[in-house]
């Protein structure tokens, strides 16, 4: 029983209290760049989740065999292999989205969340636990991306998943899409507001002075 609860924590903790983006403040660059529209954000979230989960799993599986001196290089190789696989799969089966994501899929390699989880968790834990930790952190990343992308697409383009949400009568009455929301600066502000709301709801996340 004790173990089961631990597995649940591995999955749920990174969604909120230990979220990689809003609490650990990792992976901000990609979070700002690809949250203009909801669809690329979802695909990016899934891609990161797959890469973190499987690289965690593989590294944990061979953690006792990796020579310590080339530890980081081996981790990078595994992550890079997985990222290229994901990139090739997207190009074959989700071409439009892969064009929108462009270089950012390749840049998952440098996403701090991936290396962070490998170093902090996978090297010291069992494969299944590491896999779940990867799923959890990937989900935490996706969750924030989706929320930021939701507001940016809704307010910036008036659409969600490219479907028109804000009725034409609003535009006729003088409503205008906020083009500012399409720029990365507003992504940072949206993310900032998210972090602010989160820390007001969970005061334990605020650092003690």
């Amino acid at each position: 029983m004790a173990k089961k609860k631990k597995w649940k924590d591995l999955l749920v903790d990174p969604l909120n209290e230990n979220n990689p983006i809003t609490v650990q403040i990792l992976g901000i660059c990609s979070a700002l760049a690809i949250t203009v529209k909801l669809m690329p954000a979802i695909v990016m979230g899934i891609s990161v989740m797959v890469v973190v989960a499987f690289s965690n799993f593989i590294v944990s599986l061979i953690r006792n065999y990796i020579p310590n001196r080339i530890r980081i290089i081996v981790q990078l190789l595994i992550v890079a292999t997985l990222v290229i696989l994901v990139d090739q799969l997207l190009k074959a089966f989700a071409y439009d989205v892969s064009k929108q994501l462009s270089v950012f899929v390749g840049l998952i390699i440098t996403n701090c969340i991936v290396m962070g989880r490998l170093e902090a968790f996978a090297l010291a834990n069992k494969p299944i636990d590491s896999f779940l930790d990867g799923i959890g952190n990937g989900a935490g990343y996706s969750f924030v991306l989706i929320i930021v992308a939701f507001f940016r697409e809704l307010l910036g383009s008036g659409t969600l998943l490219d479907k028109k949400i804000i009725p034409q009568s609003f535009y006729d009455a003088g409503y205008v899409n906020n083009a500012m929301m399409l720029l990365p600066a507003m992504a940072l502000i949206t993310l900032g507001i998210y972090i602010w709301v989160q820390r007001s709801l969970y005061p334990q996340l605020t650092e003690k002075e």
Binding site: I66, R69, I70, L89, A92
Partner: protein, 254 residues
């Protein structure tokens, strides 16, 4: 074996590199056909876009026949409207040994002009004839490309489609936006005397509303002068090679 020894480290590295290389090689080979299909589909969609068959038009056409818009239907419409495609030589004659659609512009533009083949796609739609020409050039940071469709007079622009690899978002990347592409519609590439002029993307031209369609100019993007210059150069450089071909068409008509 001692896990801290140099031999172990080297062996481990060799094994793991081999495994990942084999894995990637297999994946690339297996996925290649699907990726090529996507590229062909994109090319057909882009070419059809320039003669007014954008995605909405294609979807409604497909829906009218009870079809879904997928690779098959896109290929069907492409074949229906684009009856002829030629690979032209520099003197305007047709090289029959090469399929125009398969010409890779990125590789082609690097060859010397007399070795290059210039693809042209000729469409027949609703009683109008259109010539679509692929473009390829350099923007500010990396390659830019596109397609330009001319009307039957081989002079008036019917539509354009641009793409880019890495222009600045919000500035140079705006060339792919509808408002920019719209400006080209109706512009002429030859002046009244029949001299080839191309189309210049110009900042601060005297005609920001772009009402004058005889001036061979469209309005540039603020803050993207170098990308705009790239578009100008690309259009002039590519289209000039088709001038002999267009002259032939005009002679045949007269």
């Amino acid at each position: 074996m001692d896990r801290n020894s140099n031999l172990y480290t080297i062996l481990f590295a060799a094994v793991i590199v081999t495994v990942s290389a084999v894995l990637l090689a297999v994946a690339v080979m297996v996925l290649k056909p699907a990726q090529e299909r996507n590229k062909r589909q994109e090319k057909m969609t882009d070419i059809m876009y320039t003669i007014g068959l954008d995605e909405t038009a294609l979807i409604s056409k497909a829906a009218a026949e009870g079809l879904q818009l997928n690779y098959k239907t896109i290929e069907k419409y492409f074949k229906k409207y684009f009856l002829k495609q030629y690979a032209l030589k520099a003197d305007g004659t047709v090289d029959k040994s090469i399929n125009a659609f398969d010409i890779n512009m990125k590789a082609e533009v690097k060859k010397p002009v007399d070795k290059q083949r210039f693809p042209i796609f000729i469409a027949q739609m609703d009683g109008h004839k259109y010539y679509v020409i692929p473009l390829y050039g350099k923007g500010l940071w990396d390659d830019i490309w596109g397609y330009i469709a001319l009307e039957e007079d081989a002079n008036t622009v019917k539509g354009v489609k641009f793409g880019h690899k890495g222009e600045t978002p919000g500035l140079g990347a705006e060339i792919t936006k509808k408002w920019f592409e719209k400006q080209f519609v109706g512009e002429k590439i030859f002046d009244k005397d029949g001299t080839f002029r191309g189309i210049t993307v110009l900042k601060g031209n005297k005609d920001p509303e772009n009402k004058d369609k005889e001036d061979h100019e469209v309005d540039a993007i603020s803050g993207a002068t170098l990308t705009s210059n790239g578009v100008t150069r690309m259009i002039k450089e590519r289209l000039q090679h088709y001038v002999p071909f267009f002259k032939k068409i005009k002679e045949q008509k007269n």
